[in-house]
């Protein structure tokens, strides 16, 4: 039977959006942006989709993308389909908006993964660019009781095993685990592919499967958060920059060297 790869993807505020467009909401609990600036699929999740599609190219695989959120911009969240994924499952419910903590998100994802059914490999982006927690994949692996390998720069499947080049501070380890397993993917894997015309057209026709809170088989306390957000603040920057005045760049370079030498820094 063909591999079944499930990829988690989160819709987030575009991290490349100018800071001036991002604002702390009146309740001081979330960051908001003007409706005219669309969200994106979290960059690392797109890389995870790419990893899944490479497995599809080399081994043949069914790729299911799964997302949890309060509200989706369908044009955006369907991008993985346009890249070549086979199915999209959206857990969409007002109760899932601005999920307060990774624990809750994990419970929802775990319930959705169980409902999706048997899978061989779960791929997740290493972290989401909004809260940068890098927690959900690890919690999800614990919850589903599968082996977990974080920070992959290469993912391959050999028979019943996933073989991963896992980034470590000074290089990488080649590690393996028995399927089913969960792997988190880093940008070192390579850039996500652009949608081609055929996949774009196919994606237009595909409808996501949509599940609400009631569709997921959940314990009552699942939405009670383990971490509360009290407030968001703007960081204070205190450093005062001294600009080197000189007639041209070369003179500035020379002056800079003299100043840094004087200060004992070089």
């Amino acid at each position: 039977m063909a591999l079944h790869v499930v990829v988690t993807a989160k819709q987030v505020i575009d991290p490349d959006m100018p800071l001036s467009a991002m604002r702390i909401a009146d309740d001081a609990r979330q960051v908001v942006t003007p409706a005219t600036l669309p969200p994106v699929v979290n960059g690392f999740d797109e890389v995870a989709v790419e990893a899944a599609l490479r497995l599809k190219d080399s081994h043949g695989a069914k790729v299911t993308v799964l997302s949890v959120g309060g509200q989706f911009n369908l044009d955006i969240i369907k991008k993985p389909l346009a890249m070549g994924a086979d199915a999209l499952v959206l857990c969409q419910d007002a109760a899932f908006a601005n999920l307060p903590d990774s624990f809750v998100t994990t419970q929802l994802l775990a319930a959705a993964v169980r409902k999706i059914g048997a899978f061989d490999l779960l791929l997740c982006g290493r972290q989401a660019s909004d809260w940068d927690n890098a927690q959900v994949p690890l919690l999800l692996a614990e919850r589903l009781d599968v082996p977990v390998i974080p920070l992959a720069q290469k993912v391959d499947v050999e028979q019943d095993r996933v073989v991963v080049e896992q980034l470590v501070p000074d290089g990488y380890d080649v590690v393996e685990a028995t399927l089913p397993a969960l792997v988190t993917v880093s940008n070192e894997l390579g850039a996500p592919r652009y949608p081609n015309m055929r996949n774009l057209m196919a994606a237009k026709r595909k409808r996501p499967v949509i599940w609400t809170l009631g569709d997921l088989d959940l314990d009552a306390d699942v939405l009670s958060s383990r971490v509360e957000v009290l407030e968001l603040l703007l960081p204070q920057r205190t450093r005062e920059c001294e600009f080197i005045a000189a007639e041209d760049g070369a003179a500035a370079g020379e002056k800079l060297a003299a100043m840094l030498h004087e200060a004992g820094l070089i």
Partner: protein
Amino acid sequence: MAAAGRGVLVVGETVNGHLSPTTAGLLAAGQALKQDLEGELTAGLVGHDLTAAAAESLQAGVERVYIVDDVLLQDLPVDLCLHALAGLYQATTPEVILFARSPWGRELAPRLAGRLGVGLLQDCLEVGIEPDSRRLTALRPVYGGNFLARVRCAASPQIAVLRSQAYEPLAPDPDRQGEVVAVPVDLDVSQSRVRVVRRVRHEHPGVSLTEARVVTSGGRGLGGPEPFRDLEELAGMLGAAVGASRAAVDAGWVPGHWQVGLTGVTVTPELYLAFGISGASQHMAGCSGAKVIVAINTDAEAPIFREARYGVVADWQAVLPAFMEAVRNL
């Protein structure tokens, strides 16, 4: 959920048998929390041959060190470390558990929280205790550092992962004494579900980024891989290491392990020289601990100038050769 105990447990890390510098900072944070909680400060160590690290923990001011010492933990395999830590938690039931934001801590802490069914405060700059509720609170960057969030634990035990530079380590005192308690935990290889087949390490011809006193760093503004040869030459003259922005890494100009930032290396040099780097918050997350940042950028409005001590608004192609020549003649 296990019943909440008292006090603070710092999960220590060892490097070549010694307590890591990151742990020393964690212990300082733990001292402050312990006073607020009126509990005790303990350290938990998992690994093999922990005698030296245990003694160093006591010298750093903890009252007791719990150790899980097993030859299987020699290379700190995460799955087994997690078993060991879960056992250590059951034996000690602390109220607060602190981890360092190292690759190891960042993987272990969430998994332990998952096992215990609690949440955790990730990537904290500072932690504190709310007086009445005894809840752990923290200040942490979000949105790549563009905003800060104040967050609070709502379940026990309360777990936080701290940035290692956040707290100044306390000076060790060799006269301090305390107890070392071995915690028995049954470990066997079958608990490790991930097998390491091969370890590949990059050769370090020069100084390592994390230890360098000076870092010369380049970004997209350099326009290609060749200028990085100049930065390498400059680094050679200054005894420095070369870093890069993610844009330069993603462009394939330099290897991934040169990347400085939120998802790269954190550097804390005396001097950070940034050529053609805009200073996105995700980049600054990895270098804002530098004593002095110098930015060379054509755009006077580039955000990096908000954190730089010295700035040159000019084309690096004019600045760098003159700078290198001047350094040569120092």
